[in-house]
């Protein structure tokens, strides 16, 4: 973050013609910015004279130049690239120190004053930062984006809506005939992405550094809870983007259709922003994010062999985020239309348009250097998870609609007929998924899907558990009917998944407890649904587990005791009683078998 003159790396050839024409009277004198950075790292600006503090902001002047290719570049007059970078990193550092001090409730009064002056736009900083998105040096454009996003987060509710309009206009500003400027677009989208992804309490749990202002500092105490809440600035950014979103999406649609292998980093930034807006973790209101679900279908059609593996990955990440099954959709009684229609489209794409055959598994970054290694396993994992979620959403939607209909009027025969049709489609999708995975990875041809899913995801616990929830829900959703097919029942068997999962974690009940307590996976949901399934289908479960039943039940029993110990010491972070009651019931069922045997 801190860039000093001696450490700055030269950049080859990007800005040759510009350099020659720029006078660099300040090149030898960066002492003002170096002193600013040093003081910021010490958490206090009280000892800095006002004239030195304001000097770099006062001397800002942006000049424009034609780069000879019809494209206009911007730079700060009389400043070298290194001084420009030093300035941008200082602005970013200033804002980040202010954010951290605000979060702790104690702010250096001078830091606060400087931030306030910038928020009052005394120096027109925002315009300069946006202009620099067209700098011929990409490092400057990037650093400017980081400084601007940090500044917006400090400004919060005081952000001027015109700044946001300028930022979003900048994304679409055209330099070439009939097209947009990829670097400016990446800049604007990245700034909004950084704001959207910001977490208000982002201290690393293992960070031991004490970043208090020195005793000599004149400290202000901040007690306004709004100063910690970034939801307002996030919402303002999203609102500003909403009006331009259709144009932004169209322009990327065109880029991916016409130049599928160009502008990859801009495409990745765009997809990352889209994912960040949709993400449950962004804590944005579903009402505010609704307009961003509108153009997903066009992008499913873009998943083909001509798109690069890195773009594939990010598109899969986006669709996986829309189908937020384990965190949200699995828990809702009525599903929203947007994820359902995406799920239908994925199901159709796999079933009718052979989506899985176009996965660039071998062309991806399976190994460093792009060798002929094992293939792109993470890409395959994302694709498999997406298909499993799409299937689970489709089944869940049909069940929800069916149950609501049957309470209005008796239509249970129609419901069964619906489910039979769905089952045929699902069977075909899962057959193709099974074929695809077994063609790419060395699984035994007889390995049921329920087992290889756990093996495939064994290095990614969140995807693993979400995948298991999907299989469990599809299994429960389809097989409550008497005439459901037996082969699919075995392929999705929850008992087989559980047995493989417990083998993977070496039957350690501590691992299960960690999963229950942390919110990084949807294990609580999985365990709850699994135990309900076991209680309802005890005979089938016990028969499928066979010799492993006692090992499995002893893990449950140890988990039960561990949870009780934590409850007794009031250490369990939420009400776990529903799980405890189910564990007790399942243990009773197991004891009954043992009683019958002796």
């Amino acid at each position: 973050m801190v860039l000093t003159k001696s450490r700055a790396a030269p950049v080859a050839g990007m800005d040759g013609p510009v350099k020659k024409k720029v006078k660099r009277s300040d090149e030898e004198n960066n002492s003002d910015l170096e002193s600013l950075q040093k003081n910021l790292l010490g958490q206090c600006l009280c000892s800095m004279p006002d004239s030195v503090l304001r000097k770099p902001f006062r001397s800002l002047k942006i000049l424009h130049q034609d780069d000879g290719h019809g494209c206009c570049t911007a730079y700060i007059a009389n400043w070298s690239r290194d001084r420009t970078l030093l300035f941008l990193s200082s602005v970013q550092l200033l804002c980040e120190v202010a954010l951290k001090q605000n979060a702790r409730g104690l702010v250096c009064s001078r830091i606060s004053d400087v931030c306030d002056a910038l928020i009052r736009n005394e120096h027109g900083l925002v315009d300069y930062l946006i202009e620099l998105s067209a700098h011929s040096d990409r490092f400057v454009s990037f650093a400017s984006g980081r400084a601007l996003s940090a500044f917006f987060l400090v400004s919060r509710a005081h952000v001027d809506p015109r700044w946001l309009d300028r930022l979003t206009d900048n994304a679409l500003s055209s330099s070439y005939p009939e097209t947009t400027h990829p670097q400016k677009m990446a800049f604007s989208l990245d700034v909004i992405k950084r704001v959207t992804e910001w977490k208000d309490c982002e201290e690393h749990p293992l960070e031991d550094k004490d970043c208090q202002p020195p005793p000599s500092c004149h400290v202000l105490s901040v007690s306004d809870p709004d100063s910690l809440d970034s939801s307002q600035i996030k919402c303002l950014c999203i609102k500003a983007l909403e009006a331009k979103w259709p144009a932004v999406v169209n322009s990327f649609d065109r880029i991916l259709r016409i130049y599928p292998t160009q502008h990859e980093s801009t495409v990745v930034t765009f997809l990352g922003l889209w994912e960040a807006i949709i993400s449950v973790k962004a804590n944005l209101s579903i009402v505010d994010t609704k307009p961003f679900y509108a153009h997903l279908a066009n992008f499913v059609a873009l998943l083909n062999a001509s798109v690069s593996p890195i773009v594939w990955r990010h598109m899969l990440d986006l669709f996986n985020e829309v189908l937020c099954y384990g965190s949200t959709l699995a828990l809702q009684d009525i599903l929203a239309e947007e994820p359902c229609s995406l799920a239908h489209l994925i199901v159709r794409s796999v079933k009718d348009w052979r989506l899985l055959e176009t996965i660039p598994y071998r062309g991806g970054s399976g190994r460093f250097g792009g060798g002929t290694g094992d293939g792109d396993r993470p890409l395959l994992q994302k694709a498999v998870l997406l298909v499993l979620k799409a299937v689970a959403v489709t089944v869940k939607e049909t069940r929800c609609e069916s149950s609501s209909d049957s309470s209005v009027a008796s239509e249970s025969e129609d419901v069964d007929a619906d489910m039979a049709v769905i089952e045929r489609s699902i069977r075909e999708v899962l057959r193709q998924l099974d074929n695809c995975v077994k063609a790419l990875l060395p699984f035994h041809p007889e390995t049921p899907l329920a087992q290889w899913v756990v093996q495939l995801f064994s290095d990614q616990d969140d995807a693993l558990i979400e995948g298991m929830v999907c299989c469990l829900d599809v299994s429960v959703g389809l097989f409550h009917r008497e005439n459901a097919s037996q082969d699919l029942r075995r392929a999705l068997s929850p008992a087989i998944s559980l047995a493989q999962f417990l083998r993977t974690v070496s039957h350690g009940s501590d691992v299960l407890l960690d999963y229950l307590v942390s919110n990084e996976t949807c294990f609580l949901l999985y365990l709850l649904r699994l135990l309900k399934y076991i209680r309802r289908n005890w005979i089938e479960f016990a028969t499928t587990c066979g010799n492993e039943l006692s090992d499995i039940m002893s893990v449950f029993s140890r988990l039960h005791l561990a949870i009780e110990r934590l409850i007794a010491r009031s250490l369990f972070p939420y009400n776990i009683n529903p799980v405890l009651r189910l564990l007790e019931k399942c243990e009773q069922l197991y004891e009954n078998i043992n009683v019958q045997q002796f």
Binding site: P205, L206, S285, I334, L524, L528
Partner: protein, 76 residues
């Protein structure tokens, strides 16, 4: 399958509307609706970066128990 799902009768739409009105548990972060409090609790956990475990010696808080254990080792 899709032919069946696309047919949405007036009755069905009415019913969906009524079902929506019945939902009582609304997520305070994203306003998604749930019909059971336990499901809302599970969903809301995914919005929060829970700080759950506190070190008895220095009061530092951790998201995961294993991180706390690792931190405790530093005290020994």
């Amino acid at each position: 399958m899709f032919a069946i799902m696309q047919v949405e009768t007036e009755e069905r739409r009415e019913f969906r509307k009524r079902m929506r009105a019945k939902c009582e548990f609304v997520c305070k972060y994203c306003q998604r609706r749930f019909t059971k409090p336990y499901n809302l609790m599970i969903h809301e956990r995914s919005h929060k970066d829970d700080v759950t475990f506190t070190c008895e010696v220095c009061g530092k808080t951790f998201k995961r128990q294993d991180n706390l254990k690792q931190h405790r080792c530093g005290w020994r």
